[in-house]
């Protein structure tokens, strides 16, 4: 199987459409090119509209992480107007956002990632019968439990955000819904029930015990719950070595509150942390079907290349910071926030990304409970922002899948420029002008391909370990 070329796609159990082109040599992936084959043109629709339209339009980029888009749009509008939301409003916006992030993690683990281990190809492994029982697509017992737990958790979004997907409650000045004392009790009850599910099923032990793990070795000894099953599989298949990253991580900082972030922002590179500085950020379009040169998103444009020129291969632009690609997501968030386990996992592959997500899930549940405990029904939840005539600003948030940025410029009350860079834009970016591959493309290099495989399992594990959201990638 020397010199074979494979096109893998369409991918299922990822949000949106994705194709991966692989050059295979001697049973290994030599090079990979990732194509986002879907383009809708949100950034162009936004131009000329009233600034506040961004709050309604941008969530429709994605039905899975619509609140992340809401939150980013609200923060971009607040930044453009120099406005600060009411502290309790910011706390409720954080809670709404955290609920969505947590439910995304839960869904990814149970419905998108784990079912691959129930495939017949693994029938000879000792854990296979349990994987089949828990995670067979559409019928696994873990899947049903996860769907039910998640639907119950989303009652919080019903209460605070009116509806999900696509809420309207998050505004630049806070949130439209002022929860009363009764809501506070009800939300806490829902969170407690969700904790019971997490501790009974997913982790099989108190969340605090998982959040207290400090090393990879300690993690691999965790045997309880579905997390334990995953770790057993990960050890057996050596998922740590599969699809390793470059060890460069980016986080915009999650859950900004009046007194700081829930998880701090920053950049992790060469084993060290530096503050988040996006001055050196560009979106490279050398291999994207986009026109115009590389530009900072504040000055960027989205001009699709109708010719779909030969030298390019994706609708996705390639964001780079100081000339380098960065991985973003739950693992990056926890590495940057300084969690010892995440830092011990840094640079790892499939195992690190999935374990990072579980860690983020456990810690975010604890954070949500703290937010509700501090909820003050008597406080103001909105400090209404005046309409913006002219201004520019960036809304930087952490979606479930990582760093999401909206860059906005308003002129005479209308949107004059709007650029969105989603987490998967970073992770699944094509090559840049120097030929350097994006994080997924790099992680795929060296992945084993068994003879006769046209959709290699190793490739599927690596792709899904990033939890891609393709509709956000190219919007």
């Amino acid at each position: 199987m020397t010199g074979a070329r494979l096109i893998v796609g369409p991918f299922n159990r990822v949000e949106g459409d994705l194709e991966v082109h692989l050059d295979v040599e001697d049973g290994r992936v030599r090079a990979a090119r990732v194509n986002a084959p879907l383009y809708r043109g949100f950034e162009r629709m936004l131009l000329g509209r009233p600034a506040s339209d961004a709050l309604t339009l941008t969530p429709r980029i994605c039905g899975i992480c619509s609140i992340s888009q809401s939150a980013a749009a609200a923060r971009a509008l607040a930044a453009a107007g120099g406005h600060t939301p009411a502290p309790q409003g910011a706390a409720m916006a954080a809670l709404i956002h955290a609920v969505e992030n947590v439910s995304d993690h839960l869904f990814h683990f149970n419905l998108f990632f784990m079912p691959d281990f129930a495939r017949p190809a693994y029938a000879d492994r000792p854990w296979h019968p349990r994987a089949v029982e828990r995670f067979t697509s559409g019928a696994g017992t873990a899947q049903r439990a996860a769907i039910e737990a998640r639907a119950a958790l989303l009652h919080i979004l019903g209460t605070l955000a009116g509806k999900w997907p696509h809420t309207l409650a998050i505004q630049p000045g806070g949130v439209t819904r002022a929860p009363g004392p009764r809501d506070k009790v009800r939300i806490m009850a829902t969170l407690t029930a969700f904790r019971r599910y997490l501790e009974g099923t997913l982790f099989g032990a108190p969340l605090e015990a998982f959040a207290a793990l400090e090393t990879r070795a300690a993690l691999m000894r965790w045997a309880q719950g579905d997390a334990g099953l995953f770790l057993e599989i990960a050890a057996d298949l050596d998922l740590d070595a599969l699809g390793r990253g470059a060890g460069r991580y980016l986080s915009f900082g999650a859950y900004p509150l009046a007194d700081g972030y829930g998880f701090a922002p920053g950049i992790w590179r060469a084993g060290g942390l530096s503050p988040l500085d996006l001055g050196g950020m560009v979106e490279d379009v050398s291999h994207a079907w986009m026109l115009g040169g590389a530009a900072h998103p504040a000055a960027g444009k989205t001009l699709p290349d109708d010719e779909m020129r030969e030298t390019a291969y994706s609708w996705c632009k390639a964001p780079r910071l100081g000339g380098l690609g960065y991985e973003t997501g739950a693992l990056a968030r926890q590495v940057v926030a300084g969690h010892p386990l995440a830092r011990d996992l840094a640079g790892g592959g499939v195992l690190a990304r999935v374990a990072g997500r579980l860690l983020d899930l456990a810690r975010t549940q604890i954070l949500m409970e703290d937010l509700v405990r501090a909820l003050d029904p008597g406080a103001a939840f909105m400090d209404p922002a005046p309409e913006i005539r002219d201004g520019a600003g960036a809304g930087l948030v952490e979606a479930a899948r990582g760093a999401l940025g909206h860059w906005l410029r308003v002129e005479s009350g209308r949107i004059a420029a709007y650029q969105i860079v989603a987490p998967t834009t970073w992770n699944f970016s094509p090559r840049d002008a120097s030929g350097a591959p994006g994080p997924l493309e790099a992680a795929l290099e060296g992945a084993p391909v068994a003879p006769g495989e046209d959709t290699p399992l190793s490739v599927q594990h690596i792709v899904r370990s990033f939890d891609p959201c393709m509709v956000c990638t190219v919007h």
């Binding site: 893998v8 299922n12 879907l38 559409g138 979004l157 019903g158 959709t455």
Partner: protein
């Protein structure tokens, strides 16, 4: 055509008990507004009829419709419907990947020719020969046409498939086009909303599977059982509208009292949907209940009707000539008279609607 199992057999195979099955039948009857007498009918239909295969395809969209669908109110209802339609082909949820998935689609089309329902989420972009949405190396519009050719009927899920929704918002960069403008020779049922309410989705599909026919549709092709009333008609804040009590600013004193959001740009008075009765996320709430006006997401072209925070200027209240502004100042002193006038106005509206309906029938 291959032998197909009955709904009941499928459910039993999925581990659903007889008792749960009967419970599901009564829930369904209630959701569809049918009396208890229909419960045994539904049960009988499901025990004897072969299940209807469903192919679910995705074009330009955000998957919010699937997201809504899989968390409908009663976990059982969702389980049953999911196992019932079993989504013979679904991009997002199915197990297979890559070429195996494409083969599954072909198999399903071949196996159930002329007998399956095609559920479409999202829409095809037509610019650049459809190159803005590629599935399995081909433009989505080709997959759609191919799958539609042998379908019995088509469900357009959500505002995207029904009207174009957000990707068709001006200037519609990709020329995203609703399904009924591409497929013109099949019965199409529109279930608009961004996304549609989960219970509306399961209700529509259950009705079609149970009774083997389309529900009654309005002129726009929407099922009447869910889209015949405005949000405004059943809004729990309606008494405040009628009393002229309005929220003037976000989180003001009136907002905390739950006054009407009309002045904050609520589009409830012009939007036909079931949000104010069925509600969202298992009946917990809906946008107006969370303090934000309705944006009219189940109406055609709602993206391009000006700001979402502009007040509707055409809504009459009480009498024929007063708008909400005037009422807001005068209501306190004239509540008694207002109620009388309102009743009169409503009666007049009903009369108008009747004559419009009659005129419509004559046209047909």
């Amino acid at each position: 055509m291959a032998e197909i199992e009955t709904f009941y057999e499928v459910m039993r195979r999925q581990g659903i008990t007889r008792r749960s099955f009967m419970k599901y039948c009564s829930l369904t009857a209630a959701a569809l507004g049918l009396g208890p007498a229909f419960v045994p009918k539904i049960a009988h239909a499901m025990e004897t009829k072969p299940r209807t295969p469903v192919i679910w395809v995705h074009g330009l969209e955000c998957t919010c419709c699937s997201e809504s669908f899989i968390r409908s109110a009663h976990p059982l209802a969702k389980d049953v419907v999911l196992s019932m339609i079993s989504l013979d082909y679904d991009d997002t949820l199915m197990a297979a990947a890559g070429h195996a998935a494409e083969a599954a689609l072909e198999d399903t089309i071949e196996k159930y020719k002329g007998n399956y329902i095609l559920a479409v989420e999202g829409n095809p972009p037509l610019n650049e020969d459809g190159m803005f949405c590629i599935i399995g190396g081909k433009p989505f519009v080709e997959q759609l046409r191919h799958a539609a050719e042998h379908a019995k009927a088509i469900i357009s899920w959500g505002a995207c498939a029904s009207y174009g929704c957000v990707q068709a918002a001006a200037p519609n960069p990709t020329r995203a086009t609703p399904v009924h403008k591409v497929i013109t020779d099949k019965p199409i049922i529109k279930v608009p909303g961004c996304p549609p309410i989960a219970e509306v989705m399961t209700g529509v599909i259950t009705y079609m599977l149970t009774f083997d026919r389309m529900p009654d549709l309005d002129r726009q092709g929407r099922p009447k059982m869910f889209y015949s009333q405005r949000i405004h008609d059943k809004c729990y804040r309606r008494p405040h509208f009628d009393a002229g009590q309005f929220v003037e600013n976000w989180d003001d004193e009136y907002a905390r009292k739950g006054y009407c959001l009309y002045k904050m740009g609520c589009k409830g008075p012009t939007t036909y949907n079931a949000c104010s009765t069925v509600r969202w996320n298992e009946g917990v709430s809906f946008p107006i209940q969370s303090g934000h006006g309705c944006i009219g997401c189940s109406e055609d072209g709602f993206w391009d009707q000006g700001s979402f925070y502009d007040r509707l200027t055409t809504i009459k209240q009480f009498g024929i000539e007063a708008t909400a502004d005037q009422i807001g100042f005068t209501a306190a002193g004239a509540v008694g008279a207002g109620i009388v006038a309102h009743v009169a106005a409503s009666a007049l509206k009903r009369a108008q609607k009747k004559s419009q309906d009659a005129a419509k029938k004559e046209e047909v």
